[in-house]
């Protein structure tokens, strides 16, 4: 009853609303689940990561429950789907896409919480992580030096970064990132 009285009183005075909680963020469309026989998966175009880009809006950046339902859980249960959108790579791509500003800085610094988390998603063991970062850093230096880098959108930069990383964890460091 008290809350109703307060609410009516506030409305009666045309008070701009206060809230003590954020609004629940609206779910983005579920990522398209596809199967690809192609060796190279592009999570942006094949799985719709670009479409569920987390807007950098003041009012409310979005959340997605979905990707973690079938992303990280697949990780923990060791159900690896290398060529589908249910694998860890898609989760890593999603993480890179959203936190790209941190990822590029930490790569430049050679360390940081976000790139550690990124490699943890990919199942890369701790001992190998610094080597992978150093290797990615070397290639990223070239990508960031290109004339077109500054003009690219954040999502396009994230894609470029993802492919640099993917080359390392699927190639030279595949053994160290076993769970992929």
């Amino acid at each position: 009853m008290d809350k109703l009285k307060i609410a009516l009183a506030a409305l009666a005075f045309a008070l701009p609303v206060q809230s003590f909680a954020e609004t629940a963020k609206e779910k983005k469309p579920e990522l398209e689940k596809v199967s690809k026989s192609d060796e190279k998966l592009n999570p942006w175009t094949d799985c719709g990561i670009g479409a569920m880009l987390f807007d950098e809006t003041k009012w409310a950046a979005v959340t997605s429950n979905i990707i973690w339902d079938w992303g990280i859980t697949a990780t923990t249960s060791a159900v690896s789907s290398k060529h589908t959108c249910e694998g860890k790579k898609v989760v890593a791509a999603f993480f890179i896409n959203q936190t790209y500003a941190n990822i590029e800085e930490e790569t430049a610094n050679g360390n940081g919480a976000h790139i550690t988390a990124m490699l943890n998603i990919l199942g890369c063991n701790s001992a190998s992580q610094q080597n992978i970062i150093d290797s990615v850093r070397a290639d990223f230096s070239k990508a960031a030096a290109s004339a077109s880098y500054a003009e690219k959108t954040k999502s396009a930069k994230a894609q470029d970064y993802y492919f640099i990383l993917d080359e390392k964890v699927s190639g030279r460091y595949a053994q160290q990132c076993q769970a992929i």
Binding site: V17, Q18, A61
Partner: protein, 604 residues
């Protein structure tokens, strides 16, 4: 047999059972009993479960013996994991073992038992969004013993209203206040909250880690699982994030985490948590700040040498300065410090939607500069900011003795349910800002009680630049709406008003700020006062010595359509004391008449 045990132990009346099903006493006196605050029918196993704790308890026990179907995750043992855990602890299950169900989805969600502790996260207020003025509260499940370890992938639960996209502001306000929205818990990895709050909205996060035994951590995690998909009715003022997160924790923590008020304010929860002891140990084991991108920039900027600061500003103003002799002469570590500070500056500026791309382009030059230097992890000074629980609690009662040049001596009583004022302790609040709601003053003089004022809402933020860097700091602004005396001379001449102002503030040294504001005011007429006025104001806010904060403002008000001429206004406020629960204030004010007030305020 278990049902008989449960009846004998009166478990249907147990506090924990009521917490698990979110039962509350019916608010209307003519109906006895309880109702669950959860409105999803699927949350109940008994038909009358939402209002009948006994029926729900017995249906729950019976449900645990249901045959395992095609999808074991739909079995009651898997859907109601916390209920199952609690009843396993409470009843004797010898010789009455139910079927063994493997709850795969729950186990995965709960990280196969690797959750070690629970934290509450407070996202500080955000004055640009009315829905976020008072901050936000969420739960994080920690996979590490150490509070400073990487927790970006740790799971978290957040409560909020489910608002359709593109809802109009008026509908949003009305439905939010009147309970027109459903709400629920969503689960995300913590990095998403870190990104949304600290990186995009530039809000600090405060983590309070709870020292709970493993079985209580398990129970909270299990109840968090039960909450996914459960829907509630949402009320902005009361049944909000602070309330529902507190209710969720009640499955393990009996202590009340919110005061018995019809409204719920997130910061209050932290005030309570930090005074709770469990078996001689504080419930909160550690507190840490996760600074916003903007505050990370400040922290780094002020850790630089004068020369480095000057270079940072030069590069910001003229990026061509980057790479010049001044930079080249620096040691690598100093270069890295400068570049990391610039990273934060550019991202802090890019958080503003305007010119986002421009700042990211400028950042590229710095990024390349950093890539040319070796990898190195710098250690920056730790923040010494006070956490939210060290600030004044939001509910204030103030008693003042005053002498008024027109009316003589009087007593004033003031009640402010929320939240903080400009001179309040700096802890978990936006610096140089104030936010008040339903701030109510009465005066007793000549054996009569007189209404003085009611600020329905009052917001002021001065947003000064901390560093002097371009784009750091913005316009000061304020807004007030309510009822008040026309001036200090005139008792019982109440006017309704709304006023808004814009201005600029500047910090002239660490503890002193000056500002200028221009306000427009619309009010009801009082003795030909006029209804539309403009006010100019110049002011200074300072802390001359520890525990003495002062604000002096002078100005003039002129009514565009009234008979009264330009009126001088003066106000000098002083807050004395460093205690969060009380302080002493002395105020001198001139508005037609002069007044001196001395006050003692209590906060809880």
């Amino acid at each position: 047999m278990l049902i008989m045990q449960a009846r004998a132990k009166h478990l249907a009346d147990a506090l924990r059972w009521h917490a698990l099903v979110h039962y509350k006493k019916n608010e209307w006196h003519f109906t006895d009993g309880v109702h669950s605050e959860i409105i999803s029918p699927e949350f109940f196993l008994a038909k009358s479960g939402s209002t009948n704790p006994s029926a729900e308890l017995e249906a729950t026990i019976a449900g645990f013996y249901a045959p395992i179907g095609v999808d074991p995750d739909q079995h009651p043992q898997c859907r109601f994991v916390a209920r199952y855990k609690w009843l396993r602890q409470t009843l004797d299950w010898t010789d009455v073992e139910p079927p063994l169900v493997t709850c795969k989805k729950y186990r995965e969600w709960a990280l196969n038992g690797h959750i070690k502790s629970v934290s509450l996260i407070f996202a500080t207020g955000y004055l640009s969004n009315p829905a976020s003025l008072y901050g936000h509260l969420l739960i994080k499940f920690n996979t590490s013993d150490n509070i400073v370890d990487n927790d970006l992938l740790d799971p978290s639960l957040s409560y909020g209203a489910i608002v359709p996209k593109h809802e109009s502001g008026l509908v949003y306000m009305s439905k939010g206040l009147l309970g027109g929205y459903e709400a629920g818990f969503s689960h995300d990895k913590f990095f998403q909250h870190n990104h949304n709050y600290a990186e995009t909205e530039l809000r600090d996060l405060w983590e309070y880690r709870l020292a709970l035994p493993p079985d209580e951590v398990d129970l909270i995690v299990a109840h968090g699982w039960e909450m996914l998909g459960a829907k509630f009715n949402y009320y902005f003022l009361s049944n909000n994030c602070a309330y529902e997160v507190s209710e969720l924790l009640h499955v393990a923590i009996d202590d009340r985490l919110l005061p018995n008020t019809p409204w719920s304010i997130p910061s209050t929860v932290f005030n309570r948590l930090t005074v709770i002891d469990r078996e001689g140990r504080p419930l909160v084991s550690a507190v840490r700040k996760i600074p916003s991108r903007q505050n990370r920039f400040y922290k780094k900027y002020f850790a630089l040498s004068e020369q480095q600061r000057a270079l940072v500003k030069k590069i910001i103003v003229h990026p061509a300065n980057f790479g010049g002799g001044e930079y080249q002469d620096m040691a690598n570590t100093d270069k890295i410090k400068t570049l990391e500070t610039l990273f934060d500056y550019y991202e802090f500026r890019a958080a503003d939607e305007i010119d986002q791309q421009k700042y990211r382009q400028k950042k590229q030059v710095v990024l390349l500069g950093r890539l040319k230097l070796p990898s190195e992890q710098l250690s920056w000074p730790q923040t010494s900011d006070k956490p939210p629980h060290e600030g004044n609690p939001p509910l204030m009662a103030q008693l003042s003795a005053l002498t008024n040049s027109a009316d003589g001596n009087a007593i004033e009583v003031r009640i402010r349910p929320a939240y903080y004022d400009m001179l309040a302790l700096d802890a978990g609040k936006i610096p140089y800002s104030s936010l008040a709601m339903f701030d109510f003053k009465l005066m007793y003089s000549d054996e009569h009680l007189h209404f003085r004022s009611l600020d329905l809402l009052s917001i002021e933020t001065l947003s000064p630049s901390r560093t002097g860097a371009p784009g750091d700091g913005s316009y000061a602004w304020r807004f007030r709406v309510g009822l008040e005396q026309q001036n200090l001379r005139c008792i019982d001449c109440t006017v309704a008003f709304t006023e808004g102002g814009i201005g600029k503030a500047a910090i002239i040294d660490g503890n002193t700020l000056i500002y200028g504001m221009l306000d427009a005011r619309l009010q009801s007429n009082m003795e030909s006062s006029g209804t539309l006025a403009g006010t100019t104001e110049l002011g200074i806010i300072a802390e001359p010595i520890k525990h003495w904060r002062t604000r002096i403002s002078i100005g003039e008000r002129a009514y565009i359509n009234g008979a009264r001429a330009m009126k001088p206004l003066l106000r000098w406020e002083n807050r004395l004391g460093g205690n969060k629960n009380w302080d002493w204030e002395i105020t001198v004010e001139k508005n037609s008449a002069s007044e001196l007030r001395t006050s003692v305020a209590f906060y809880w």
